[in-house]
């Protein structure tokens, strides 16, 4: 999964202190994209492994991101099966629900491990993720269909 690798790289690229609040949740977006496109063939184990890798890189407690990504993937597969995957409003609703839940769980875990700085800017990433989603979704979809056409 090259797209996941790119997402990981986008996640760990260093940004300035202020901009980094607005970094979209690239990995979660990628997982949601695949959950919507190839539905139940998306791998939960993959989500878990990537989560562990991010936990190591970020120095968060082991399992925090793993739990979040697994839940995001699972939920978006389940919800994606019940809706029209290409309807824009429905997609946005799904995005806000799953990402919101993911961020909420992360916040809880951070609160328990006293790793949270309690700033409202924490939620900026949700906004930026929703804004970037149509472009990212279209880009990933473009390469996916192109590869299918070739193969």
């Amino acid at each position: 999964m090259a797209s996941l690798l790119i997402a990981v790289i986008l996640t760990i690229i260093p940004l300035g202190e202020q901009i980094s609040f607005w970094r979209p949740e690239w990995i979660a977006l990628t997982l949601i994209h695949w959950a919507l496109v190839i539905q139940d063939r998306v791998s939960l184990v993959m989500a878990f492994v990537v989560g562990i890798a991010i936990d190591t890189l970020y120095g968060s407690i082991l399992g925090q991101h793993a739990l979040g990504y697994v839940l995001v993937t699972y939920l978006s597969v389940r919800l994606g099966l019940r809706m029209n995957p290409e309807a824009f409003l429905q997609q946005t609703a799904l995005l806000i629900t799953t990402l919101g839940l993911y961020l909420l769980i992360s916040l809880w875990v951070q609160g328990v491990t006293s790793n949270s700085d309690g700033s409202w800017l924490y939620w900026a990433t949700l906004l930026s993720s929703v804004i970037i989603w149509p472009i990212y979704h279209a880009l990933l979809g473009y390469f996916h269909t192109q590869r299918k056409a070739l193969g």
């Binding site: 990981v8 760990i12 690229i13 878990f48 890798a53 890189l57 399992g63 790793n115 700085d117």
Partner: protein
């Protein structure tokens, strides 16, 4: 479900007993190390190759550095003779030799992480003799300490990390306190200063050496303007201090090895009988500590 459960279990174990999962962390860090290097490489090329630096800038820098080296060489000569004298005196007093230090340069790999944590990955690992809870310096200031080691890389926890605290001493008054990190980009908090303490804006806190990990008298943080607050009724003052290391801009750090009491009083008592001039030479050839980082760092 199994994965969710295992993630929860991992978190529980990691929270209760961080040591139990150390192998997992180390393995994962080794796995993602290539990624870190690849993310870091454009930055490294841009900043360290000097490809875009003009020749006159380089020439100027070169002259300045040469002057500095000469200065340091002269100082080193004085220091080594004082050191030698110190060893002799200690040998005569039959006191334990004082601890000395070895240095190596390392580079941090640029990568983002949690805002409240201050963690960085270094490009030196246990293959280079790095070990856990080793002290890392940046210039003349304390940068942090090593918390995790793999064969090629190591993870350093910076002083600004929320879970890190270092024992400090006010350089002006000698008052002891603790400096806790509050997250990257935020001021550190100086704790345990009594409410009648005479701490002022601009005071510099240096490491106190208590606890035996950090060497004493290295600068740690400087109190910010209006950073001292005495709340009525509180037992301790609230003091905010900015770390003296610029964590956003620092790439080159120094790893130091503490050599606890080098046991060589015997040879030096014999050496005391030989003429002093010759003794200086052998001393310099043998244990010159400052020549070491130059060799290591010039790769």
């Amino acid at each position: 479900m199994v994965l969710v459960l295992s993630a929860l279990m991992l978190m529980a174990v990691d929270y209760r007993n961080p040591d139990a999962l150390r192998p997992v962390r180390t393995a994962a860090l080794m796995l993602v190390y290539p990624l870190l290097v690849s993310v870091d490489s454009p930055h490294r090329f841009y900043s360290t190759s000097g490809f875009f630096a003009s020749q006159s800038t380089l020439a100027m820098e070169n002259t300045a550095l040469k002057e500095q080296i000469q200065l340091y060489a002269a100082q080193q000569r004085i220091i080594s003779s004082v050191q030698q004298e110190n060893t002799h005196l200690r040998a005569m007093l039959k006191a334990a030799p004082s601890a000395s230090y070895n240095f190596t340069l390392a580079e941090t790999l640029e990568a983002a992480n949690d805002r409240v944590r201050g963690l960085a990955v270094l490009d030196k690992g246990s293959n280079n003799g790095v070990h856990e809870s080793q002290v890392v310096l940046s210039g003349e200031n304390i940068y942090g300490q090593i918390i995790e080691v793999t064969p090629f890389s190591s993870k350093v926890i910076q002083l600004v990390d929320r879970s890190h605290t270092i024992p400090v001493r006010n350089q002006r008054t000698g008052e002891r306190a603790l400096a806790s990190g509050m997250g990257r980009g935020l001021a550190m908090e100086i704790k345990n200063l009594p409410s009648n303490s005479d701490v002022k804006d601009g005071d510099i806190f240096v490491s106190s050496g208590l606890g035996g990990l950090f060497p004493p008298d290295f600068p740690v943080a400087k109190v910010i303007p209006q950073g001292v607050e005495f709340k009525p009724g509180a037992a301790f003052a609230t003091v905010k201090a900015l770390p003296l290391v610029n964590y956003e801009a620092t790439r080159d750090v120094l790893l130091i090895w503490r050599k606890p009491g080098v046991p060589d009083p015997e040879p030096h008592i014999e050496a005391a009988a030989t003429p002093p001039a010759k003794d200086t030479d052998t001393k310099e050839a043998g244990t010159s500590k400052l020549a070491h980082p130059k060799q290591e760092g010039s790769h």
